[in-house]
């Protein structure tokens, strides 16, 4: 796992990034605001100074006249000792008086309208803020427009703007710090249930499959429920296994106990003929027990989900014929009529030949064992099917599914192991085939169908 690949870091990154962008925007906004506020405050000085000058402008001796109030200039300079400029300009743009010929108001205002313009100018290499007041002298007969232009350098404004911004900056930084701390705590708090879940899983007894019991937020509760479902499935599987093991040991114990009893009985006799009879009986029992063990083994193997044997192309007709040949002798001994009905063409499927042979063997064995007198193995084409049909008593519909469970027998029969159909079921599942149990063709007996997936190649 990469260092950066952590939920905590990811959350923090994605939350801090917008926070950072937002913070920068706020800082820029604060700077613009501070400058605007400083300009507004200092423009008042321009306004007052230009007004103080304009009020002193008179019409005297046929010309504009100004008794300049020094205070008007002094108010333009604050503690920052700004440079100060002023000029009085008549309607033709001629300088009446002033210490600098400042540029005028470029707007064409209506005649006789008082206007005031603030703007930034660069004048002889100095960055100035200028106020231009356009007004006029109102005398009895004369209406003479003029402009008062005042300007000062920006030190005071800049200092105020910087001060305002610094104050804002401190606040914004404090807020950012608080937000970050809050974010860290929030993420930590939000991820706590995850830690709790991890601890709960880690602290469990590895053998227990009990469900996780802890209250979690919705998103994690889903995860917990999923885990609990998995655990429940595992519990069922384990219960099955335990029952299977119990049944299996029980099944093995019964013939072994029989063997032991028979041997004990025989040893009490002195007649060698009895011994021979006993040995023959014991041989049959041990053969049956060995077969049971083999069946158990193959069932265990089939029940293992990890077991994935290689499949090869198998021809079903040949397989069916071989199985019938293998079992014909024993069936004949029991007086069972075993036959085979091949499909017309060759039927190829992907499968494991020995497992399929085992399945057919089991079905034939079952059929003959439970009262079938006539057993037929059929192969059908399209879809590929393997059918074993008998004319025995059959299985009533409601109990058919039960028959697939290991060690379940329809009636008390010591010779059968109760594993046959369960094994067939396992083989069918291994091949992805459907296992169907139904009544035989004339309403009697049992018909077992293994229907393979559609490929016939």
């Amino acid at each position: 796992m990469k260092r950066g690949d952590s939920l905590y870091r990811r959350l923090l990154g994605w939350l801090l990034l917008p926070l950072l962008v937002l913070g920068s925007l706020i800082l820029i906004q604060a700077w613009v605001d501070a400058q605007r506020t400083a300009d507004r405050a200092f423009d008042r000085l321009l306004e007052a100074a230009s007004l103080a000058i304009a009020e002193q402008v008179q019409w005297q001796d046929d010309r504009l006249w100004l008794d300049l109030p020094p205070a008007a200039l002094e108010m333009l300079a604050t503690d920052a000792q700004e440079r100060v400029f002023y000029s009085l300009v008549d309607r033709q743009g001629r300088l009446i008086t002033g210490n600098a010929l400042l540029p005028g108001d470029p707007r064409q205002g209506a005649e006789g309208e008082d206007t005031l313009l603030y703007r930034h100018i660069d004048w002889q290499g100095l960055s100035l803020r200028q106020g231009v007041r356009r007004t006029r002298v109102e005398d009895w007969r004369v209406r003479e427009p003029f402009e008062v232009r005042v300007a000062h350098s920006r030190e005071g404004r800049d200092a105020l703007a910087a001060r305002l911004w610094r104050a804002n900056l401190a606040m914004i930084l404090a807020m950012a710090a608080l937000a970050t701390v809050g974010l860290l705590l929030a993420i930590r708090a939000a991820l706590t249930p995850l830690t709790r879940l991890r601890r709960a899983i880690r602290a469990r007894d590895p053998r227990t499959l009990a469900p996780l019991e802890l209250s979690l937020p919705r998103e994690l509760a889903e995860l917990r429920d999923t885990v609990n479902e998995l655990l429940a499935r595992m519990r069922r599987v384990r219960a099955n296994q335990e029952r299977f093991i119990g049944d299996a040991s029980h099944q093995l114990r019964t013939p072994l106990a029989g063997l032991s009893a028979r041997a004990e009985l025989a040893l009490r006799q002195d007649d060698p003929m009895r011994w021979k009879e006993a040995l023959i009986a014991m041989q049959a029992t041990s053969a049956r027990t060995a077969r049971l063990a083999v069946q158990l083994l193959s069932l265990t193997r089939l029940a293992n989900p990890e077991y994935r044997p290689d499949r090869v192309p198998v021809e079903l007709n040949a397989l069916a014929c071989q199985a019938v040949r293998d079992h014909w002798a024993s069936c004949h001994r029991q007086g069972v009529d075993l036959g085979v009905e091949n499909a017309g063409d060759e039927v190829w499927i992907h499968g494991i030949d020995w497992l399929l042979a085992e399945a057919i063997g089991n079905l034939i064995d079952n059929a003959s064992r439970y009262g079938g007198r006539c057993v037929t193995v059929k192969v059908e084409h399209c879809p590929p099917r393997l059918i074993v049909e008998d004319d025995g008593p059959g299985i009533p519909e409601p109990r058919r599914m039960l028959m697939l469970r290991p060690f379940h027998r329809d009636r008390d029969d010591l010779a059968g192991s109760g594993l046959g159909l369960a094994i067939v079921d396992g083989i069918a599942r291994t091949h992805g085939a459907r296992l169907q149990l139904s009544t035989g063709h004339d309403g009697r007996g049992l018909r077992v169908v293994l229907q393979f997936p559609g490929d016939t190649s």
Binding site: D67, L68, P70, E74, V84
Partner: protein, 358 residues
């Protein structure tokens, strides 16, 4: 030259006529000591007479023997015009024409001095860190003892007004003051005094009633006072009076008790100074304790440095006169002094009031 500058020149002519004794072209020269490493130069242009400038320059040269110092004494007008014609000639400008020095700095012709001494220099005696007031010279009255013996003490403007109103006949033609129409300094004082109190106009009227003689320079007034043509002199530059009247016991210098204007010489380093480092060293020296001590002890100019005490310092003068001292503020108000129409308005009023008394 634009219009304000032309006006400026006319004005400077007036100022120069008054403040600085008429001297053509006086210079001082201190060559750098030969064994002191690479020599640098320093060119100082000032409106300050050689006897007063000499101790200052000598003190500086003792501290910085590696600097070749040239001092040129000019009238305030010549100094200003020479600067406008060649702004890269001088390293330090030193002038008593406060409005003009202020105007140069206001327009950005001055270079800021950021030395620790400049940081410590009192805020009222500088503008930004570009313009430094280095002297403290009260505007005084000079009264002949005969007048005091006959009419009583003259301690301030109120006394002078009373004296003029009561004994206008006896003092007819025996009082002298600046003519504000022809003297820049006189005009500057008039504008400041008219701002201080409306009673100034009564004083002007009383001066007119006594048929006061109008002079252009302090030197002219002092000449008349020493010769006995005048008995009372009003608004004389204290530093000059002190020097000239040291051996004139019959004349008493009165620093007015009610209010006394104080004028200051302003120094600045031009932005285009050819030797800015040397200029900074010199200005730094002028506002240092050493330079100011020289100023206090060896010249009548008056030292500003707050650490200095004793005769010839602003501190001593403040202790003696306290609240009455009104140093001319180094600020934009000085620009109003230079305003054409303002001058016209003030002079019209002044002449009207002066004539009213006659």
């Amino acid at each position: 030259m634009n219009r304000p500058s032309r006006v400026a020149s006319r004005w400077l002519l007036l100022i120069s006529l008054v403040v600085t004794p008429a001297v053509a072209d006086e210079t001082l020269h201190y060559p750098a000591a030969p064994d002191n490493g690479p020599a640098t130069s320093l060119v100082v242009h000032g409106a300050l007479d050689l006897p007063q400038m000499q101790p200052l320059l000598e003190g500086f040269h003792r501290q910085h023997p590696d600097v070749t110092v040239r001092y040129r004494n000019l009238t305030t007008l010549a100094l200003h015009e020479r600067f406008l014609a060649a702004p890269d000639e001088a390293d330090v400008l030193l002038s008593s024409a406060m409005p003009w020095q202020y105007r140069l700095a206001n327009e950005g012709h001055a270079r800021a001095l950021a030395s620790p001494a400049a940081q410590r220099w009192p805020a009222w005696a500088r503008w930004r860190h570009e313009l430094f007031a280095i002297t403290f010279e009260p505007i005084v009255m000079v009264v002949n003892r005969a007048v005091i013996e006959r009419f009583g003490e003259v301690r301030g403007h109120a006394d002078l007004l009373a004296l003029l109103e009561r004994h206008a006949g006896a003092l007819q033609g025996r009082v002298v003051t600046y003519d504000p129409a022809t003297s820049g300094a006189g005009y500057t004082y008039a504008i400041e005094e008219s701002r201080l109190s409306p009673r100034y106009w009564d004083l002007v009227a009383a001066l007119g009633k006594a048929e006061t003689a109008l002079a252009d320079t302090t030197a002219e007034m002092l000449d008349g006072l020493i010769e006995g043509r005048y008995l009372v002199g009003y608004n004389l530059l204290g530093s000059y009076a002190q020097e000239r009247l040291a051996n004139q016991p019959q004349l008493r210098i009165v620093v007015p008790e009610d209010y006394a204007l104080v004028t200051q010489r302003l120094a600045l380093i031009p932005r285009q100074a050819p030797h800015p480092q040397a200029a900074e060293r010199f200005l730094d020296y002028l506002i240092s304790e050493t330079g100011q001590t020289v100023l206090a002890r060896e010249t009548p100019l008056g030292a500003i440095h707050p650490a200095l005490d004793g005769p010839g310092t602003a501190t001593a003068l403040r202790q003696a006169r306290g609240e009455a001292l009104r140093p001319i503020a180094v600020g934009p108000g000085l620009l109003a002094t230079l305003d054409d129409l303002k001058r016209e308005a003030l002079l019209t009023r002044w002449q009207r009031e002066f004539a009213r008394g006659e």
